[in-house]
Structures are given as C-alpha cells and as structure tokens.
Symmetry: C2
Subunit: 775 residues, 2 copies
Amino acid sequence: MTQTIDPETNHLAVGKPTRRLDAEEKLTGRARFSGDMSFPGLLHARLVLSPYAHARIVSIDTAAALAIPGVVAVYTADTLKMAKSHESSRSQSPLARGEAFWCGHPVAIVLAESEALAEDGAAAVDVDYDPLPVVIDPLAALQPDSPLTRPRSEDETSEIAGGGTHADVGTAQAEEEEQEELSLNVSDRVHMHSGDIEAGWREADVVVERSYRTRSVHQSYLEPQSITVVPSKGSHKMTVYASSQGLYSARSDISDALALPERQILVEPVPIGGAFGGKFGLIEPLAAAAAYATRKPVRMVYTRQDDLLAGNPAPQSFITVKLGAKRDGTLVALQAKIILDAGAFPGAAAGLAGYLMSSVYRCPNTDIRGYEVLTNKVSVGAYRAPDAPQTAFALESTVTDLCHELQIDPLEFRRQNGLRGGDPSGNPRHPVLPPLGLMECLDGIEQHPLWKERHAQKEVPAELAGWKIGIGLAVGGWPGGNDAAAAACRLESDGTVSVVIGTVDLTGSDTSLALIAAEAIGLPASQVNIAHDATDTMPYSGGTGGSKTIYSMGPAVQAAAQQARQQILQIASDMLEAAVDDLEFKDDNVVVKGVPGKALSLQKIARASTSFSRRGPVYGQGRTPTPDNSPMYAAHLAKVAVDPDTGEVRVLDYVAAQDVGRAINPPAVEGQIHGGVTQGLGWALFEGLEHDEDGQLLTATFMDYALPHSFDVPNITPLLIEVPSGIGPYGAKGVGEPPVIPVAGAIANAIYDAVGVRPAELPMTPERIFNALHQ
Amino acid sequence: MTQTIDPETNHLAVGKPTRRLDAEEKLTGRARFSGDMSFPGLLHARLVLSPYAHARIVSIDTAAALAIPGVVAVYTADTLKMAKSHESSRSQSPLARGEAFWCGHPVAIVLAESEALAEDGAAAVDVDYDPLPVVIDPLAALQPDSPLTRPRSEDETSEIAGGGTHADVGTAQAEEEEQEELSLNVSDRVHMHSGDIEAGWREADVVVERSYRTRSVHQSYLEPQSITVVPSKGSHKMTVYASSQGLYSARSDISDALALPERQILVEPVPIGGAFGGKFGLIEPLAAAAAYATRKPVRMVYTRQDDLLAGNPAPQSFITVKLGAKRDGTLVALQAKIILDAGAFPGAAAGLAGYLMSSVYRCPNTDIRGYEVLTNKVSVGAYRAPDAPQTAFALESTVTDLCHELQIDPLEFRRQNGLRGGDPSGNPRHPVLPPLGLMECLDGIEQHPLWKERHAQKEVPAELAGWKIGIGLAVGGWPGGNDAAAAACRLESDGTVSVVIGTVDLTGSDTSLALIAAEAIGLPASQVNIAHDATDTMPYSGGTGGSKTIYSMGPAVQAAAQQARQQILQIASDMLEAAVDDLEFKDDNVVVKGVPGKALSLQKIARASTSFSRRGPVYGQGRTPTPDNSPMYAAHLAKVAVDPDTGEVRVLDYVAAQDVGRAINPPAVEGQIHGGVTQGLGWALFEGLEHDEDGQLLTATFMDYALPHSFDVPNITPLLIEVPSGIGPYGAKGVGEPPVIPVAGAIANAIYDAVGVRPAELPMTPERIFNALHQ
C-alpha cells in the first residue's frame, strides 16, 4: 500500500512494479560470484584461527603444513609482506602479530592447490600459544583496573583516555567533569549535549530511567566473505573480484595494504550475495597480499564458521536512557549513556549512536555519552543501520514507559514530540531539517486497522488460549549518507539504452536506477539496461550502503539519461528534419508529434550515430554532488502473543510505515521492508553471538546462532509513505536501513502491552521473558 | 625536421616528443596479447587447410583425429553451427562448404587440449578432394570463357555482369558501352568519369600510355592473427580477446555469425602486435563459433604459414594509365583501367582504387574503370592505404614519363597540376577541398639538398663503380576516413588524469591521444593516462584504421578533457574561494594566479570530489561527430643505385615530406613515416605472394616471402609539414597511410633516372630490372 502526498505521479517507469534485472541470472544459478572465479594456477586460501581469546603466540611451525603435497605457501604476520603494521586497523593488519586478540583471530593463511588441501594445511600448522588474561565483559573492561584487551599504543589512546575531547560535541562545559577514570580499553568516547540537562530534570513532571542490553548479531549474508585476486602477468595490474559493497573502497584498501598505486589494482564488478554493511574491506588486503606474495591467483572463501568467528558483526550494547517530560507530554530532558562493545579493534561508531539517540524527538535539553570499549572478541563492523536498532530499542522502550507514566497515548506522544521537517537541524550549513515523514508515518499507522481496532485486536483466539496479546508501537530514523557519483548513458545498436555505473548492485539498486534512467529518457523500463564497469574506467561511484544509493547515484543516472535523451532527439531532429521540440519518444521510436508515420526507431538512430557516422554517438554523462542527506523515518506496529507460562513470543501481525520519498520500484521497496523487519525480528527475538567466560564463541554455526525461520515471520504490511525528498530523483529517499530500526522496540512494547513487563535485554528469548514475568 | 605554417605553436604537450605509453610493457615483454590468454579448460584450435586451389570436397573423415586423446572436437562447415551460410562473406562462412576455393582454404577446425595435439589432430583429419579447374591469372579470369573460380549465385552476380551500373560515377553516358562481355568471375566493376575524355585527347599535345603489374603483398604484422574466446558460465556473455583493430566491429561480426544479440558478446581490449588494416574480423566468427559450440574457451593463433596461406593480403593489380597534356604542362586527360585480383572472395575495393587515381591531379577529363575479379587464391583485405601503393606506382611512373616527353621538371609538373585546397571536390556536400599540403610537401622536397643538389648527388662513389645513380620523385594522397567517437576523462586519486576510450592502440595512438588530453587540460603529458574499456561500457569508438583516429577520436578526447578541466577548476574555485577565471594549472596544482601559495594539488581536488564528498566527481565527456575527412598528402624523393650488370637496386637515401596537419607526438609521426616507407620498399623491391599455375603458394614462409631487412632500408628523412586541418585537434591530420603510397613510384622513377628503363612490374627485383635493361 502506497500513500503519496505528491500529486505529480504521472510517471512512465518510476513507481511501476518491475522485475529485478538480476532475477534471472540469480534464480537460474548462472550468476558467478567472486568465489566462483577460477584461473589457471588458482590457489585456495584457508585461515588458521586462534583457539584462544587472548594469547601470546610463542611460535608458529609451518613445516608440517608445507610438507603436504599441494600446499604451496603458509604466511604469518611475520612472513606476509604488507605495507606496514597498522596495529589499529584490523583489515590492514589481518594476521595476529605476537598476540591473538580473540578466539577466531587469524594467525596464518595457508595457500594450496585445492580447498581440501588448504584445509589440511591449516590443520597442520602448529602454533604454540601462551594464554593471557581475557577481557570479555565490556562493563568490566571499562573499569580502570581491567586487564587490557591488547597492548595499546600511545597514539591510539592519548586522545581518548587523556582528556575526553575526542568527538565532543555541544556547548562549552567544564572539562574537568570529563576526567572520568577509564581503562585504556576505551577506544572512543563522545559527549553530545544541548540545553541544560539539569534544568530539564527540574522542569520535568515525570522522569523515567531504564537500562538495556543488546547482543552482538551477525549480518548472516547468504554468500560468505569471499574474494579472488589475480596478479596479472601482463602488466603491473592485479585484478580483484571481491564480494564487496564498494569497488573503489576495495581498491584503496588494497593499495594501502600493499603500498601499490591505486591504478595498479583493478577491481572488477561481480554480483554479491548480500552484505548488509558487513562487506567493506574486511578480507581484501589479506587475500591481495597473499596473491601478491605468490604471484598466483588466490581465492579465499570463508566457511560459515569463519564468518561467525572472524567476520565483523554488529556491536553489543549497554544503554541507559533517562527521559523527563512535562505533564502535558512535552519531552524536556533526554539523557543517555551508550556503551558499545567493539571487540578487539575500534569501529563501533559511538558518535553515530549518540547522534541516532538525539535525532528522533525534539528535546531542548540533552546529554548523551557514548563509549566504545575493546574486548577479546571479534571486532565489529557495520550492519544495516549501524547502532540504530540498539538505540531505538532503548529509546522506544523508555518512551513507551514514559507514556504509560504520563497516561498519554504513545502515538500521540510521538506526534507531539517527533521531529518534523523545518525543525532546527543543529547543522550550521543547513540550519533546518529537510522534509521528513515521521508524522506521515504515524498518520499511516493511525489509519491502519491494527491501530484503529487495537482493542478488538487484543482478543485472544481460541487456539492461543492462555496467551496474552499486545500491540506495540515504535519509531526510528536514519540520517542517510552522502557521496559523489557519476554515470554514463549509451544508446546500444539494438535500440536499447545502457546506463554505465560502478555501483555494486544490492537489493535491486540496479533495477531502480534503470527505472530512473527510463523515466528520464521517456522509455519503458524494458528498454534500459545497466552495465557495470571496473575501477580503471568506471564513472565514480561510492560503496552501496548507508541508504544513499538512490539519492546520490540516482541523480547522476538521471542526468546522464537526460543528456542521452537530448542527444537522441538532436540526431532524430537532423534525420527527420523536424525541430527537437516537435519530437517525442513513443515506445522505441522517436516520432514527430501529430505526424503518424514520421518516426525513427532508436535502432536506426543508434546506427546513424556510430559506425563510420558523421554524427556523434549517443553518450550522456551525469555527475552530481549530493550536498545534503535525505533523512528517512519509519513507524512500526507489532502485534504479539506471549505465553505467560513459557515466555514464548509469537509475532502475529506487523505493519511498517516508512517514508521512502518516492517508491521507485514499489515491490523492491516492499521487499527491503520485509527483509529489514525480518532482520529486526532476529535482533528482537532470536539472534546473539554468545561467548563463554573464556571468550569462546558458543554460537559458531547456524545450528547455534538462531536466525528467524520463515515460520517466525508474520504477515508484514509495508505502508509506503511518499514525502518527496528535495534531493533524490522523483523525490526518492533511501530505503534500506530504516525498516530494521524500530522492530525490537515495537516487539518489546507489544510484549509490555501484552504482559506488563518491560524487556530489558535482546534477544527477548522465552527464558528472558519468563524470568521477567516471574521476578 | 618539422615545417609548420601555423604560427600558433605555443603548446604545453602537443608537439613535444613523448615516450610511448605502451613502450615499457612491450619492451619488457609484460604485454599480454590475445594469444597469451589462458583459462581453465582452454582448447587450442588448429585449421585443416585445403592443399588444392580448387577442389570438390568429397568427404571429411574426422574419426582418426577424434581418436587422439586430447583432441576434443573437429568441426567442418556442416557441423559447426553458425547463423547462416553467407557464401559471399569469407569471415561469416569461414570453413569451405562443398568446395575449397584456394590452396589454404580452411576446411575444418580441430580443438584440442594443447597446440601440439591440435596440430596432430589436424594432420589426422582425412579429407577426400576431387580437384577442379583452377583460375589463377586474373586477366584470364576476366574473359567470358574463363572457368569459374567458384559457383556464383544470382545475387552476387546480377548487378555486376548484367548492366555494369554498380558504383558507376560520373556524367550520364550511353549505357550500351558498358555492356562489355565479362566473366562471372568479375565481382565488382566501377566507372568514374568527368568531362569528355575524347575531347581531352584532342586537346593534348603529348599522350603517354603505360601498363603495370603489382603483386599481392602481405601485411606481415609481428603478431599473427590470433584470438581467445571464453564462453562465460556466469551469464549469457561470451568474452572475446581478439587481435583486432576494432572492438565493436569484432562484436558485430560475432553477433552476425552466431545470431546472438551484440550485448551478449563482450570484447575486451588487448594490446595488438601490428595490424596495418589486416585485422578487421577475419577469424573472430570462426573462433567464436567453435567456443560457442564446445562451451569451452578456445584460443586460435595462426602460425606464420597459416597467415600467409589464409590471411587477407593486399590485392595484386594490373593497371593501365594513359595521360594527355598540353605542351605547357597542363594535364588535360587521364584514363585508367585498374584490374584488382580479389582472390576467392570480393573485397579489393575497386571504387577506392578509382577514386585514388583521380584525387592527386587536377584534370578536366577523366575516365577510370575498375574491375575486381575473383581467382583461386586467398581473398584479400585491407593493407595500409588499400589500393593506393598500386595506383600511385602506376600514376607516378606515367606522370614522370609524361614529364620526360614534355621535357618539364617533374616537380614543376606536379606543382602545376597537383590538387590544392579550395579546388572543386566533386562532393556536393562540401564542394571544395579543405586545406591540403601537397604543394607544401613539394616545397619541402624542393628545399632539401637531395633535390637541390640532385645533379651532384648522382655522382657515383668509388665503392659503387659501374653502378648508376638516379633520383626519383613521387607523390600520393589519402582521403582519410570518418567515424563517430566518444571519450570520457576522469581525475584519479593520485592527481593524474585518465582518458577512457575504446580505441585500439596502434602506432602510438594512445600516446598521441594522451597528449591531446594533456594539452586540453593544461597538464604535462606525464600526468595523463589512457584507460581502455570493453564493449559493454566504453564510450563509442570505431576501429583504429584509415588514418582517422587522431582527427575523429582526438576531438572527443579533447572535448572530454576540456570538460574535466572546467570541472576541476570549478571545484578548486569553491575550495580556494577564488573565481574560476583567476585560476590556472601549474604542474599538478591548480593555483590562484599571482598568489603564490594559494594552490590546491590535483590529488586534494580528487579526494574532495569523490569518497563521501558533497561535490561531484570529475568526469568529463566528449562525443564528436566528424562530418568531414581530412585528406593528407605526401611527396617522396628516393636516391637509388642500380647495377646494370645484375639489375640490383640499392636505395641510398630517402626523403619523405608529409603534411601531417600537426605532429602531435613528432617521434611517433616520424616512426610511422619510417615504417610506411619501409613497407613501401617491400612493395617496391622485395615482396610478392607468388603462386604456381596450380595455385600453390610458393612463398608460404618468411624464407620465401622477402620482407625488407634492416640493411635494405636507407636513411629516411621525414619532413613533417604542418598545414593545419580544420577538423583534427590542434590541426592534426592522419599519418598512417600516406608514407607507404609514393614509395614504389619514387623508386621506379629513380631507377628510370639511373638507367633509363621504365619498371613496369612490382617488386622490382634484380631479374626484372636486368631483363628490362637487356630487352
């Protein structure tokens, strides 16, 4: 269901449900991924992972491994040549040097003529470890007397633990209060504040404070981390086929790692089997270094266990939220403390978490502190709306409790306090927020039967006798990213149009970009193809992520297509001897308006503008700055049933309203919402990387790490709200991140509505709900 | 030595001697050509060639070949699936069907796991031939009673032998005279005429008529015909690495052959080891069909013998020229009959030969007939200035004899009668000729000591006692081709600039295009790279050939670079807070004029315009029509010594004046002239494919086919004449074809000057000169 507030919707291609361009090759199994690449002399890589969460590496004996026929090389941090030891960057320092920092830390890489031989070789590498004290609990890790997760260099620590001035945001405050005593395990600290929080508490009639814990969860893409690197014999070039979200970022990571000029590394586009933020440069430097050292093609494909042990999952969090409101429902104080467990290397983005906490509600007095702390666990990375599911779970749970205390309808409270376009942005460059649809999402929810008939909905059906039913609301927002982008647009000899981009196709982005191009030219979508180009020659593209592709790459595609349209019309004008203004596109022809039969097929125009032609070929170009973000909001409503006897939770129905600006390809947008909500259900009810006290991962297979199954996923109704962006083509905003954000909060609020207990921990397993009910 | 008539020569990059971009990878052996490509499962192809010049194929038994372990497949015309049997196209019908038409005609293709196995397989294919009458002599082949070279279909023959109206050019004449009775072996016939030839003869005071014969010569590129085709398992795509002059033309040839959409064929750029016109689609369809049939990668690399037996050399010719002039030296009548021996398939371009005959001198009355005739020899293709060395040899020899009869200085005659810019063009679209430098070339020759001191130069040195020395002049011209072209231009992260093109790099074209881009941006040449792109994504480019690359692709590169320059300046203007007009390029910086230190490196500008930038990336685009040709002329002077006792000819000195418009990279231009003159010496003195009366090739190896050796090549002095083209960037014209054109004529005229006999046959071997001297 789509609700648009934009009257200009008479589009030819945009908004038309369109089959994904990648559907056929993926459904038929013809797509060839980076792990399917084969080259003469290909070597297969397998990692030796540390079995200890923290240990000194006394020695590594590779002789037995190298004695296996077909094992070609074994490299350790000491023998694999890389540009420098970037101790603070996991990808640039991929093999443990001297110490292993987590259970799963790669210690050596084995290259062999087959996967099986590489596996045998890895098993035969003899590493002598001397176990060291482990730091597993991030709260303990914060304490000044905590053992250290790993040695910390002066550089890494000075600006954090010293003065706390790193990334501080807000008004001038007494710096002495920042002098908290913290462990050197703290790798980042932010403090964002506005107004006067103490005045806020004084003004508040009601104050609610709650604490929450979430678990580290894994992106669990279908295709594990994988890459094939082929050092060329023919030139300086190394050719890379990486399951990566960004071709240029993969290139620059490898360039850094090997101290090679970027133009000596060619990254070719390949289809990728899911990423969700987790595929930005984790394994590229290691695989490239191995290929560079052997001068042979190297393929590295993680096993699922490798991916769980040595991937880059989302951080677990410990969040305390304290809110104050006046009796009339006005929010006047928001305080939060966010602790993110980064694992062994920094990267949990505490600043982003803080920003997310402060960018949903209007509040004059805020005080938000974020801490990133290192522990002996796998280091974290981005996962769909990084830090947002955690912060939204905490904030939306607390807001709902505040509404309960105030006896105010939770939807009304959000309408009263939620951010609106035109509110102050806090960004001096653009002092007010652009159009954003949080209110319209709430309107959508309010009109939906699940909300309108929420009291009737809570009636328990016979088959759930004894269960309790609850309905929960939560909202969330995502700022969106920015990037520069360029694209080209050609007319093909068969009369179709190709858009040339370097954007990695994820979640149907190619198809949406094709629709934008089709609309801009005036052609049906079936006439437009997307062609991908490699880093040496492609128009610039940033990585696919951050829910920015449609509104940063989209305008470049639109501009390139518009230019191609003008070129086509100019050629047709010459050939038909008619003014450009008198011409129009009709299917795959350019016709003279009102003169039936005076027409030229695009095929003829293509031929007339290429081979030995005296006309210029059709070749449009677009390059667009995207100076502003296009923030995007969602409001979710969940209906759950809770069995008070067991704590089991079933999600019975789900409504997800989301401001998408303009749904370029509605089923793709709905698919993203289905997927995002499903991943949110994983966060809410099932998933979590669990470690024992020694740092051993207890959930290192999909038998132990619980992803939602199809029968766990309810009917999900997406409500596409279209509050046009001023930036994206045809008003489009990003879509990918928002749908995961409010889910855990909506489920928690529904559980609260059903059984009256406030879940404080994710995932909300039956055990945890049962314990809460019986405390 | 460069003589320019353009005062505007203050260039930063253009005109600066610049090392070729491809030098390093070619000199170090790192370049990987199409025949170096290897892929898992690669099959090697070897052809079974007909040992008969004309034979019925009774049967082909492949059993013994297929019984060899490692021989994977053997295909014949009947078993290799291709779109259709294009009997009139050799490349589309690459295997003999029913009959073999020349000695060397491919009858079967053998695919095996190694080159040696493929060779063994080819030897084991048992073909039963039934020999048929052969047609070897093209003059005999013209006769109505000649046996047929091969069966001729109604389609192929109707428009030729029937009415002779095919390609007729000129004023209306009585069509009955066209009803000459000719054999069906004649595959093309043209008649071009202007004025009234009979009136011309009446007006003439002196008439000279001469007949000439030239031999078929081979392009003899370093790298033989080669290709690797990889059918992708991953998509519909077939990837092609072809030693071809045009990526799009290779794609469309394969598309035609396999009836596959063009976008299912991806042609990748590879370096190529020489072509000279001979690498346009000869073997691509066959190799692609074999790969398509087996679904395996197929590599086909001609042996040198394959290339001599089954390549596509230049046609041999029989030319009669009759000229009439008034006593004052005014040319008033030009009649010519040109017979081109096309071998077994059409392609000798009789129309072009006729055009070339009429586009050197002003003459009011012309009558030129051209005939293309089929014989049982390998079919011909393009070779550097197709048909021009043959016609120039005939025309320039006759002109010199005419001068002798008129007792007019041959340079003066050419100045008096040679074409000039502004002369009528015969082309209704552009009725007058553009600026062309034939006169300026003659001026250059006239100033050169070899001409000025020609009488002293003829003194015989002691070591050549008994020899005679002569000096000969000849001129020639080439119309140039046209093509549409597009290019892109990026700023790289290291601050260099890349030009993205699809043009195959030949004779240093990449380097010249880089200089054009550098000049347009305002950067030193060392800051500019060329990046090649494949057919799916590249800006459109035609084939590299026809001496058109610099003035058809060049303007697109120039436009793309200029656009990139503007984008760079715009970004710098924002960042430096200075007006665009106040900025300039200085080395790899953009600086504010007159404000030392207010500068931005291109590296910084690149970074500021890509990764997560709010500015647009630098991405310039150029697309240019090239509506007009840019004709190019040359005048050559040769000094030879002839031994009257043996007929041996030694070339002692050589001056080649050529109007290049603007020498973009002077040493590359000079290199082209050295190479062209050397190939011309091959035509003149050494080369020729010789057949016996059964059509057996007697010169099927480089032991028998005589290429010039280094000691045969004299000092060659190029005189670069710069009469700016109105079309090419910075005035540049094409360079490649002209230097081969006048050589045989100049050598013949020098021999005539030395010993007083008129050579009538190429190559001018000692035997032929001796016979002429003693007739």
